[in-house]
Symmetry: D2
Subunit: 341 residues, 4 copies
């Protein structure tokens, strides 16, 4: 059966596995203190244009969001996110488990509106006293969003400006960052993100790694005793090498960018094919997730041969579904999908 269900259906890019094999019997210290981790961090600093960035490798996305947010907020602060932000909708309450409220703003195709953010902060920190309310202590955005959409450089700049005005950090969830950076429709670069965000993570799990996310604190602003906080959240990997070697490989010879570019090419190819077949898109996504409206009976037909994601019921007769490409997607599989479509 063909699968376009998500961008983590395969294992890891073969170069990563080769490197794991090569380095396997080397004796290395634990918890991220090995030289592969150091090397990977150095390469990431360079790629981000942040020579002073502090970097930590974690295992998965929800874990990363939980640790970063809990470590940067004071106990009485919450994190502002779009209604559809992953932390608000699909992390089983991990942020609340650590004691913090997600302050939800309306979503616009998955994105937060800078004007709405500014109003919220203006109101909160304005004349009236809000000491019975949760303090907005951080802004969370995902890029690409959960709908595959992207912020423009100007949109990011505005969000960043607002956050700095109110002195709260801007945090970007980059679970699919590669696919955002390699989109043909973006004007945002990795150094832009390094400049405009206070902290962000570079997703590995969905972009070629077995697991792993690289958290980048761009301004020497990693919270004190971060490793202890990571340990306290059950998020410290004993064999930190597993993450270090993978990221070292991804940031050698632009592998991360090259495989991300492949996913985008595959998505563009699929999109073009869908269009020719007269498919109706739920929204215009410039990245690797494509949302299509299907009549229910056609959806059921297609499900017999292809796996993809249910997104939401549109009406009685139609459903929004998602097809994802990835670093591992084969062109021939898209051809086959288009035949069946």
């Amino acid at each position: 059966m063909l699968s376009f269900e998500c961008d983590y259906t395969e294992g890891a890019h073969e170069t990563i596995l080769a490197r794991l094999l090569e380095t396997n019997m080397e004796q290395l210290p634990g918890y991220g203190s090995d030289h592969y981790c150091q090397q990977a961090k150095e390469k990431i600093r360079r790629a981000c244009g942040c020579p002073d960035a502090e970097i930590f490798f974690l295992t998965g996305g929800t874990q990363t969001n939980d640790v970063v947010i809990d470590s940067m907020l004071r106990t009485y602060e919450g994190v502002v996110a779009a209604q559809t932000g992953h932390i608000n909708a699909h992390e089983a309450g991990a942020i609340e488990h650590s004691g913090h409220k997600v302050l939800a703003l309306p979503e616009h195709q998955g994105k937060m509106d800078a004007g709405e953010l500014e109003s919220l902060l203006e109101d909160f920190f304005g004349d009236e006293n809000h000491e019975h309310m949760v303090f907005p202590g951080m802004v969370y955005i995902s890029h690409p969003t959960e709908y595959g959409t992207l912020y423009s450089r100007e949109e990011l700049r505005r969000l960043s400006e607002i956050c700095r005005k109110y002195q709260i950090p801007l945090y970007m969830d980059g679970a699919r960052l590669g696919y955002g950076l390699m989109s043909s429709e973006t004007d945002v670069t990795l150094p832009d993100i390094g400049e405009l965000c206070d902290v962000f993570y570079i997703g590995g799990t969905k972009v070629g790694a077995l697991c792993g996310e690289a958290v980048v604190f761009t301004k020497q602003n990693m919270p004190a005793h971060f490793l202890t906080i990571v340990k306290q959240h059950g998020a410290l990997l004993a064999k930190g090498r597993v993450l270090g070697i993978q990221f070292d490989t991804l940031f050698t010879d632009d592998l991360y960018f090259r495989i991300s570019r492949h996913a985008i090419e595959m998505a563009d190819y699929m999109k073009e094919g869908f269009r020719k077949k007269g498919a109706e898109f739920y929204l215009e996504s410039p990245t690797n997730q494509q949302f299509v409206i299907l009549e229910n009976h056609r959806m059921q037909e297609l499900q017999k041969e292809v796996s993809f994601s249910f997104w939401e019921k549109l009406d009685e007769d139609h459903t929004v579904v998602r097809f994802a490409t990835s670093w591992a997607t084969k062109k021939e599989n898209i051809d086959r999908l288009l035949e069946l479509f």
Copy 2:
């Protein structure tokens, strides 16, 4: 430099890497729902003699302890552990982060005494009212303990009996379980553990895997919606296959037991060598961790060529240090260590 610092200095057993490579491009569903996970669970059920066991794969030890304990306790309950239990001493307060107290009992070479446990429970659930106190809701033991020591079958049976009398689960942290089972001095088998414990985990990280622990709920007692609780703790791996394939490999052709046995043979060889050299042991450990008392100047000398763990200061002139063997230890390295010792 030689390293006997811990049992996770190398990557993974080569058979595991080979299997990861072989299955790499297979498209699989996420979050542990793939067939390798199912297969691995079936093999583990068989090895434990628990045909009805419910099994879940997690990434690391602290994470596993946190998720298991938080999911099985009511909010007003705490977990009883020996003073030196990993959850009490070396997990940066992960259990408390989830809201639960660790109720510490004295340790006896790392072990909990059944009589002391019984007294605590008798007192708590006896005539007097203790409703202003934390309820003992679970018993945690590590096997091998943090000092490499082991419970006898009879000791385990007693602990189990007491827990059942008071209807609280007995939980075994098996981070190094393989090394316990393969010790030449144990009378405890994996089916014994399946019978006597309500939940335990089989450690992979320290026994041949890149990462991964298999939690075994022995009596169809996995808490409802356990996957959601795992997600809420940031502990759900997207590519569950990474854990499933590793455990499937470890429980094929007794690999887990064979490589554990190797570590024990290496430990016995090292112990014998130390003894011949007149080394003084801090305690008698029947597993892969050996605790030796060194004069400080000899320790400093040795550290120039070998890495090992500081355990504790014994007095002004002496230090307790730990040498660990593992599935990956090479005999020639022990020979070299003994030469230098």
Copy 3:
């Protein structure tokens, strides 16, 4: 200066103080085990028509919401509330501090819509798997709401029916319950609430007591070891008598209802006066909180002699403000307010 700022500007009803004085030197056991607490509970059971209700006295509203919600939810569950529900907006994240998400539904003059609740539950517990999301584990409503509005008996019945269908408890925050019950526009009685809700609290702080709220578990459904959970939340009063005696007094000779009725009469009188003066109401409130739209300059003028609450900015020139009456409001003060208005 006149104050209509809130319904807790005075101390306690004089009968309560008299009773505290009378019983003051009686030696009583602590933590709510005294006979005044027992007596008060018995009277409340009778007033609610719930002979089997289990009752606990707590000190304040946020505390009560936190303890009730945390004690009734499983760790992976959240509580559904209207966007403007007190727990979502004005409790500084107390619910999240205990680890639970507030799942916000749209508000309709402060109320939750039964249809919207049903959709949420239908979607969640329907065919699709939502195990990465927070489980709706309880429904929270306030009655009167934060906008002074009331549910009709039929609306309550529908909410109750939906909750029972999905087997999750319906919880009513009755911080101002007396003012709801005594409204001339309600068809809801205290026994109705006892029948339709699984748990609710009868507010004392805002209705004549120095402090205190009576939590009523209507169906012998008080969580096990509730006193310990209360203690764990720092909410157990040593001198439980202070709460017992107050509630005993409030539920003797219908004091609670009589003083609530007074507040409603004062509100109706004030409303009538405002109307005659041509005031514009923000919404139609049948209880003791009245929301009026004032031009900013008139608001500033009035503030010199009367204190009242800022509610929200309506537009550049207008503000919504709140005037509250209470058990202690004097008619002459309303006359004076109306003169100044």
Copy 4:
């Protein structure tokens, strides 16, 4: 029946009730912003010799400990306490509920030993890395302790010196502070405590108030947004006046000290009487709690006419029990107790 069960069996000192009655119908703003609270704080500042102290009124002891400790610790820090410290033994895990570990040291008649504290801190912050452990972030002592014992000025000075050396706050739980200050065997004054502690609370509940504890941050070190943190813990009293008026009364004309002195006189009288009867004391307590060893059959006899507290089983035939005096104890009741003894 006579009761010496604890020091909170009566209501409040009559002067307090009189003041509550007198001020009852005054309209006051909420949440501690009224002038009685301001006035009370000013009087407490003077009594403590801390003109810059920041003060907050809370309702009960466990609540106060929870809020103070959680607000002053970083998430990865725990609080050091004696094994028998109230927070470690009798608060149902309130500290852990807020995510922090209690790091227990041995107790010496309820007291912490300065040398043992210093060793713990020296070891933790010494050469070895302890980043997998909970950081000691505060020291908690109770004075009087749970055993009625007191620190000498020199002992307090040492603890304070050690805390300052390691830059962690020293926190004193003063639930029974009055009884400590008025003991005939103490050399510690309230200004000493203001000088040596970073934060402490003056207990009201056990010393003449209906409820209430006054937290004193001695060095302008109240955590930012403390009121919001209090609210988040469900600990903010709407009618803050109830606490303000009580403490204003207690700190007018030395009432707090005079009534504390009475309790001590009563304790001394009772102690003397016990001695004459040949009673065996479990330990020498210089405050209002007296611990006596009784043969079980005599204990059962006495319980028929007097209520007192079970403390612990000494052996098969003997039990340690506690008799407490308070601000409200009547001499004639002690006479009666001694007759029965």
